[in-house]
């Protein structure tokens, strides 16, 4: 009897030690459990996103070469935009339909927030939040890239699994004003989380988020104003997304637009309109901006 037990015990010992012998953890890299324990770890993850910001590659004219598609500047070769039939749709790999950055950003935001919530991350809350805020800022930055290139774009807020059904659902393009709203909401969140001053030179901080928010709003509002009635702007019969969003409609909201002049800067009313007309936005100039900021499409 004792013999049987001891044999079994030996066998069990052998098997567990076998398993121990075969369990090898990585020695020179970690996984999300290993990281996300301090504000410095958060900073490491966020640093990657700074590479999204425009770089000035001086070899080929750098940032200034972007102006060749305007009438401010001409380059040596012909610009495909100006010649009919020359501007071709690029292959998917060379286009702006890229979500690599968003994957990393969403992974960071969700891992970081979870680490803070569970207490896995140790450190001053202000520090930790600042970096989470930077994450939100960059998410808005990348979504803005999608907005300017595609108009209606998908809104991705988490790292997606490799499941065909889930991904198909996530590829759905939201109406552009919805996208803009999402960007602005992210920037608001970023501004609330980030510090007043950059922890080190070159990092983003609250004012940067707000300044970017102004830029996004101006862009979207101007676009929708000058493209109203075309297929690019949601809410009219020609809109290309009408099939996907059959119930879409603008829903004007009565709201005092106090902050307009601050945000847009450029637009100023010629003369002060009476309160009643100001709130019921009917003039074209007002209405488009107002719609962009506060409409809630019905779904």
């Amino acid at each position: 009897m004792i013999k049987k037990i001891s044999i079994l015990a030996l066998a069990a010992l052998f098997l567990t030690s076998c398993d121990d012998f075969l369990q090898r953890e990585p020695l020179s890299f970690g996984d999300r459990e290993a990281y996300f324990t301090s504000p410095e770890d958060f900073a490491l993850s966020v640093n990657k996103f700074y590479e999204m910001l425009p770089q000035n590659n001086a070899l080929w004219g750098g940032l200034y070469s972007a102006d060749v598609v305007s009438d401010n500047q001409a380059a040596a070769g012909a610009q495909s935009l100006f010649y009919p039939g020359e501007k071709k749709t690029p292959a998917k790999g060379a286009s702006e339909w890229q979500f690599t950055n968003l994957r990393g950003i969403n992974f960071f935001i969700s891992s970081a927030e979870e680490a803070v919530a569970t207490g896995h991350a140790q450190g001053a809350e202000a520090e930790l939040n600042h970096y989470i805020g930077e994450g939100y800022f960059f998410r808005a930055y990348d979504m803005y890239r999608l907005l300017t290139n595609f108009g209606d774009a998908p809104i991705i807020t988490e790292m997606l699994p490799d499941d065909q059904a889930v991904l198909t659902e996530a590829s759905k393009r939201y109406p552009r004003n919805e996208v803009a709203r999402h960007i602005l909401a992210d920037l608001d969140k970023a501004a609330s989380l980030m510090k007043d001053a950059a922890p080190e030179a070159g990092r983003v901080y609250r004012d940067v988020a707000l300044a970017f928010k102004a830029r996004v709003a101006l862009y979207e509002a101007t676009w929708e104003k000058y493209h109203a009635g075309t297929c690019f702007v949601p809410g009219n019969s020609k809109w290309v997304g009408a099939a996907t969003w059959p119930g879409f409609a603008w829903k004007p909201v009565r709201r005092r637009l106090k902050s307009i002049s601050f945000l847009t800067g450029l637009w100023r009313p010629r003369k002060r309109l009476p309160l009643s007309t100001r709130s019921t936005t009917t003039t074209l100039a007002c209405s488009t901006i107002g719609q962009a900021l506060s409409d809630q499409p019905t779904r």
Partner: protein
């Protein structure tokens, strides 16, 4: 008393016999009772004066005394030594020599008689490894065993390693490899590091049945190397050789004037520029060639000399850089001996090889010491200890890398060698070679093996083995700043051939660095490997009723490996002559990396052999393997295999044929093995590691932590299914032997791409085990051994092998023809078909009117290529380059090397021996031109004006009458020379035939005859002359067929040159 008298009588007789030469006569009989005709009879020690038996088997021989020993030998029979003891008439009965069939093959954890082996195993002795002036054993084995493919597409740098595979392509699974397992005395080792003189035999296990016992480490075959044991009787051996190497198949660049005219042509033909080299410049070039101008350059500005096309020198860079001869030497000494209880073997080997580049002073040295001691404590217990130390060093200039080979062909002949001030021109890179810093790559390996064998009862053995390998790889690299003197007298830094870059490779932490101008850089790295494995097994042999033979083997094996790479570099070195790292905190210009990991495996195995009367054989193997590389729930794999054989020649009904056909065995095998050789040690972990970012925040370049790349959570083993059948046969008493094998190997569950996912996933879809590859092939070998008279014996052997691989399952997202897709035959080349070269502008215009070629290029004219239209669309284009839409592209060839063959002719006459060994590939297509940089070596221009390598072979391009280089419009090979890509597309016209036949080795040796009387001092002395790569027969243009791989990404042919070796060597045995 009687005995004493008899003895006295004999003694006296013997004494008298001693006095005078006697004649001995006799008859020699074969085992069947018939007379042995043509048997050779000679007195031992006097081979030269022998006799041959006549048609009745009778012989008559004069011997020195009746105490002599007669040696009687006959093919297929055992050689007999007969002590005359006073007899002068003999009757000799010969017995059959089945030594050829008593031959033993080395299999996993044991040996088997060749006639009983049921798996596909080939064991060769060390004849392929001796007398070869090669740097390592891998080179010597090329072509030695059919099915063992050793390829070297990278040229012949000293210390270069070669690719080994058994039976062809094993896997395309991303992140796994298909290298065979190399076991040296049962422990994993490196075939290129071991001293070739220490090898006694090499056994190649080709199919699953043979390698199943090794399980998951050996799905693609095993190479078992057995080292030399000691033998009774002390022997001291020395062998050494000196070799001379010369490069073969070097390209020949054109001279500067021809180059200038070709460049003018190329620019003009592409309508990119008219007359790039103006007449004034051409005159200068000619004047320099004729010696009227002293220098080939002048000041371009105050700090630069004219270079590239602005200078007018005339330099043949290949001649300047590549030496005609490089010398190497090798010395090997060993002592072996022993008694009944102890046997020992110690050896030492030293190899010194220099490279073929002038100004480079490359050196590869190897020192190997090994010792093996075998102690028999008593009849039951035996202990064996082996120790091996191998130390190598590869020392060469830091600038001698793939970029260098790329620029070697690209450098313009118009760049002169010297500046007017006597220095080397900065673009020649001679100063960086000589003074720009060196790489020292050392390896130190220390192998230890302890082996205990206990045999408590006869036929039952217990083995316990402990193996350890410790490797260290200290590496240093330095880039020293070098300067030239500018026209205004100032010192200016020389560029090392590319703009500065400093990158860290995240997989192994290596640094990819090209120094900035004037940078003083020093890098130091170490790679340390610690490997430990244990084998415990027992085997028992049992024979029942004299006919049922069983052998059972059961055992367990563990392995553990720990590897780390550490690397530091600094760009702040103050004293380049004696580099050391400056002590500093947070230096700006420092690079650091460390990558480390470990893996372990545990295996349990068993094997059962059964044979009935040596006629019917069955073998069953089973192995269970656990690997640390896979997640817990996928960790274990079970791999069975079975093989069977039938020795037809041993059957009773075969008896009438036996005297002619004495060995005929049919065998077949089937088995499944798993592959755990993933590239990463941790394929199922979220791999997040920091790397340097491209941003500066604060004052520093940031470190970033990117998100991990997605991986499949269902990652598991690749499974390799092996099925095969074979025939072994021997005729005429094993004088003619051969074997034929057919096999099919299917690699299942290879890592292949999952179907492509929508872009919002944000990463490449993780690979899953969903691809399948099938390889089918066959091998044939034949050997004939015979002797003529008593003096001359010879053998002729040949082997031929072929395989073909098809991807049978693959989920390609887009079916791009240049990637893998389902149904693709491995090595496919897609390209256009060519109608011809248009002889005039009108002909071209007419063709273009029907078939516009605007998607390929513009500005077509006479002398350009007309591509054939193969699809419905009249325009010539590539479509989307997918399987469904490939425009006018079609399969034009295949790069798989097919029909690998080898042919050996050996002979020995008295004291002269010779061997000729041919090796070749029967069929291989190759297209040299997969990148702009790569295309230029074949075409001259690679699609870009700055990628040109103009060789004499490129002169055969279309030229109209009146061209300064002469007309060439009759039948040119190339289309017009152009700086764009119009005439250099993948097409059948320029598809190369990379098949070849090489006289790989020719050796002639002279042994000191025994009668020379030195046998007291020297037991054996042999002088030999050997040559490697003596002749190459190939239809490949410009390049050597083994130097065309696109290594380093710069294109075909841009690698170290191949070479031919002549050597003379000496072997002495005391």
């Amino acid at each position: 008393m009687k005995r004493f008298i008899f003895f006295l009588f004999c003694f006296v007789a013997a004494l008298t016999a001693l006095a005078a030469p006697m004649t001995v006569t006799g008859v020699v009989y074969e085992p069947s009772g018939e007379a042995a005709i043509g048997a050779s009879v000679y007195e031992k020690g006097r081979e030269g004066s022998g006799a041959v038996t006549d048609i009745e088997g009778k012989f008559s021989l004069k011997v020195s005394s009746l105490k002599a020993v007669l040696v009687i030998s006959y093919v297929g029979m055992e050689t007999q030594e007969i002590h005359l003891e006073g007899r002068s008439e003999l009757k000799v009965y010969l017995t059959e020599d089945n030594h050829a069939l008593d031959e033993v093959v080395v299999v996993g954890f044991g040996t088997q008689k060749k006639i009983n082996a049921t798996g596909a195993v080939k064991t060769i002795g060390n004849e392929m490894l001796t007398n070869r002036p090669v740097s390592n054993a891998v080179q010597a084995l090329q072509g030695a065993v059919p099915g063992l493919n050793i390829t070297n597409d990278a040229g012949g740098a000293p210390g270069e390693s070669m690719n080994i595979n058994i039976r062809g392509v094993g896997t395309i699974g991303d992140g796994s490899n298909a290298n065979p397992l190399v076991l040296i005395d049962g422990m994993e080792g490196d075939l290129s590091a071991i001293n070739p003189h220490d090898i006694e035999s090499v056994s190649v296990l080709k199919d699953a049945a043979a390698s199943a016992i090794y399980g998951s480490r050996a799905p693609f075959g095993v190479i078992l190397v057995t080292t030399v044991k000691g033998e009774a009787g002390t022997r001291v051996n020395y062998s050494g050789n000196v070799s001379f190497r010369q490069p073969v198949n070097e390209p020949e660049p054109v001279d500067s004037y021809t180059m200038a005219l070709m460049v003018n042509d190329a620019w003009a033909n592409a309508k990119a520029n008219d007359n790039y080299f103006k007449q004034a410049q051409l005159n200068k070039i000619l004047a320099f060639q004729q010696g009227l101008l002293e220098y080939g350059t002048e000041a371009a500005s105050s700090i630069k000399w004219k270079e590239v096309y602005a200078s007018w020198g005339n330099t043949n860079w290949y001649e300047e850089y590549v030496k005609k001869l490089a010398v190497s030497q090798e010395h090997n000494a060993s002592v072996s001996g022993g008694s009944r209880k102890t046997k020992y073997y110690f050896s030492g080997n030293y190899l010194d090889q220099s490279g073929i580049f002038r100004h480079a002073d490359e050196k590869y040295t190897r020192l190997a010491l090994s010792g093996r001691v075998n102690v028999k404590f008593n009849d039951y217990v035996q202990f064996q200890w082996t120790s091996r130390i191998i130390s190598t060093e590869n020392n060469k200039p830091s600038v001698l890398n793939n970029l260098f080979y790329h620029n070697l062909g690209r450098r313009y002949p118009t760049e002169p060698l010297y500046l007017p001030n006597g220095e080397y021109h900065p673009n020649s890179l001679i100063q960086p070679m000589e003074e720009g810093g060196r790489i020292s790559d050392k390896t130190r390996q220390f192998h230890n093996q302890a082996n205990l064998i206990i045999e408590p009862v006869k036929n039952w053995q217990l083995h316990a083995e402990l193996n350890s390998r410790i490797e260290n790889n200290p590496y240093t690299r330095q880039f020293c700043p070098v300067y030239f003197t500018a026209p205004n007298g100032s010192r200016q830094p020389i560029s090392f051939g590319d703009t500065g870059k400093h990158l860290i490779n995240s997989t192994d932490g290596t640094f990819n660095v090209t120094p900035d101008l004037g940078e003083s850089y020093y890098e130091k790295a170490n790679r340390a490997v610690n490997y430990f494995s244990t084998n415990f097994y027992t085997d028992y042999a049992l024979t029942l009723n004299d006919r049922h033979n069983f052998k059972i083997l059961v055992g367990m094996q563990t392995e553990y490996l720990h590897r780390e790479y550490d690397r530091v570099a600094s760009s702040d070195i103050v004293l380049p002559d004696r580099p050391f790292f400056p002590s500093e905190i947070g230096g700006e210009t420092t690079m650091i990396s460390e990558v480390k990991g470990e893996w372990s495996t545990l295996g349990v195995f068993g094997r059962l052999n059964y044979n009935f009367d040596n006629r019917y054989m069955l073998e069953v193997n089973m192995r269970g393997d656990g690997a640390s590389r896979f997640p817990r729930n996928q960790r274990w794999g079970y791999f069975p295999s079975v093989s069977a054989g039938w020795n037809i020649a041993e059957e009773s009904f075969w008896a009438p044929l036996f005297s002619v056909w004495n060995y005929f065995k049919l065998r077949g095998s089937y088995g499944v093995l798993g592959n755990q050789n993933t590239e990463s040690f941790y394929p199922y972990y979220e791999n997040m590691s920091t790397e340097a970012g491209n941003v500066v925040l604060g004052d520093n370049q940031v470190t970033t932590l990117p998100v991990y790349a997605p991986f499949s959570t269902t990652l598991t083993w690749e499974k390799i299914e092996n099925a095969g059948a074979g025939v072994d046969f021997a005729f005429f008493n094993s004088r003619l032997q051969g074997a034929f094998d057919w096999y099919q190997r299917t690699t299942k569950d290879m890592l292949g791409p999952a179907q492509s996912l929508p872009g919002v996933f944000g990463a490449a879809a993780p690979r899953t085990n969903n691809a399948e590859l099938r390889t089918r092939g066959w091998e044939l070998e034949l050997a004939w051994r015979d002797r003529i008279g008593s003096d001359f014996n010879y053998s002729v052997s040949a082997s031929l092998a072929d395989y073909k691989s098809i991807i049978t399952k693959y989920k390609s997202s887009d079916n791009k023809i240049n990637n893998y897709y389902q149904g693709k035959t491995f090595g496919e080349i897609w390209g256009f078909e060519v109608v011809g070269i248009a002889k005039s502008d009108r002909e071209m215009a007419a063709y273009l009117a029907e078939h516009p070629q605007s998607s390929i290029g513009a500005n077509w004219g006479g002398g350009d290529i007309m591509y054939r239209n193969l699809d419905d669309d009249p325009a010539i284009n590539k479509g989307a380059q997918t399987l469904d839409d490939h425009g006018d592209l079609t399969v034009i060839g295949n790069t798989t090397p097919r029909y690998a063959y080898s042919f050996t002719l050996e002979g020995q006459w008295k004291f002269i021996d010779f061997r000729a060994y041919f090796q070749g590939i029967g069929k291989r297509d190759y297209f040299i031109g997969d990148t702009a940089k790569g295309t230029s070596t074949f075409f001259g221009y690679g699609g870009s004006a700055w990628q040109s390598t103009l060789f004499v072979d490129h002169l055969d391009y279309f030229r109209f009458a009146g061209s300064p280089l002469g007309a060439n419009d009759e039948n040119p090979y190339y289309g017009r020379l152009r700086t764009d890509a119009n005439n250099i597309q993948y097409c059948d016209r320029f598809l190369q035939d990379a098949s070849y036949l090489r006289l790989k080795n020719l050796t002639v040796g002279f042994s000191l005859p025994e009668s020379a009387g030195l046998s007291r001092y020297v037991k054996k002395a042999r002088l030999y002359f050997s040559a490697e790569n003596l002749f190459t027969f190939t239809k490949l243009r410009i390049f050597d067929p083994e130097a065309i791989d696109n290594l380093g990404g710069f294109g075909a042919g841009k690698c170290y040159p191949q070479y031919r070796t002549y050597s003379v060597g000496l072997e002495l045995t005391f």
